[in-house]
């Protein structure tokens, strides 16, 4: 029956969007962190989505096939900002600290996009649920 597959597929999307939202929250929380070297500086995390094309990939039930999962989380490649701040205890020998490469505005946009996608999938589930109930009522006429 495909209607309950709809709910399965949409729920995988809800999961993926929540992961994206979590990554955004973590990025925003770390937007102000500084480090003593470019390697240690915090880098913005980005989840990469992947479609679940067959049953093996879902390692669950067939109802999730066609859904989406978080394939991996990558670091943003933008180099961290190098700022002169000799008084900072984290500063290196030359008096520089390395700020995280999180762009606050970008993260806010990302958060809104994730929230919208989440809402879309909630609507999909709602509609599917209504159709299911309506189908059950066919025999009652």
């Amino acid at each position: 029956m495909s209607i309950d597959h709809i709910i399965g597929v949409a729920s995988t999307a809800l999961n993926a969007q929540i992961t994206r939202m979590n990554a955004t929250a973590s990025n925003l929380a770390n937007a102000g962190t500084v480090a003593g070297s470019a390697e240690e500086a915090f880098r913005a995390k980005r989840p990469v989505f992947k479609a679940l094309m067959n049953e093996e990939m879902t390692n669950a039930a067939a109802q999730y096939v066609g859904g989406v999962k978080v394939d991996r989380v990558i670091d943003d490649a933008t180099p961290p900002r190098r700022v002169a701040d000799p008084k900072n205890p984290m500063a290196d020998a030359d008096g520089f600290v390395y700020q995280s490469n999180v762009s606050e505005v970008g993260e806010m946009v990302e958060m809104m996009a994730a929230a919208r996608s989440y809402q879309n999938n909630v609507e999909v589930i709602n509609t599917a649920r209504q159709l299911m109930m309506r189908t059950l009522e066919v025999t009652k006429t």
């Binding site: 495909s2 949409a10 993926a16 989505f49 066609g66 989406v68 996009a113 996608s117 066919v138 006429t141």
Partner: protein
């Protein structure tokens, strides 16, 4: 059940195709942010006529006879041609998918109403009041 099949007519098959289309559109919406995902849709007319054709298939009485190839595989799905391209190779246009999903949902309800009417008629005939 020949009686039931005749009563429901095209609507029983139509309901199946429509629920499959809803599922496919839900998959598109779920993958709206997946890189390189290609949106798909069901060619409703083609699938329905193929489903109808299965009922009136030519019987193969000997091993050498050709049977009609199943034109449904794989499920009559076709890739959607996007209005504009995106950087990540994703062809899901969320507005289009939302509109199609809404339309598919009301199509499904329309078929349900037709079925309801048929069942109502049958019930009336059986009850005789």
């Amino acid at each position: 059940m020949k009686l039931l099949d005749n009563t429901f007519g095209i609507h029983a098959q139509s309901l199946q195709v429509k629920s499959r289309r809803l599922e496919l559109l839900a998959k598109n919406i779920a993958n709206a942010d997946t890189p390189n995902f290609k949106a798909k849709d069901v060619d409703f007319k083609a699938v329905l006529s193929a489903t109808r054709a299965q009922d009136s298939q030519i019987a193969s009485t000997q091993a050498g006879h050709f049977t009609q190839a199943d034109p449904l595989t794989p499920d009559g799905e076709k890739f959607r041609v996007p209005f504009s391209t995106s950087f990540d190779g994703n062809t899901v246009e969320i507005g289009v998918e939302q509109a199609q999903y809404g339309k598919a949902a009301s199509d499904y309800q329309a078929t349900l109403s037709f079925l309801e009417n048929r069942i109502g008629g049958l019930r009336k005939a059986l009850r005789g009041d």
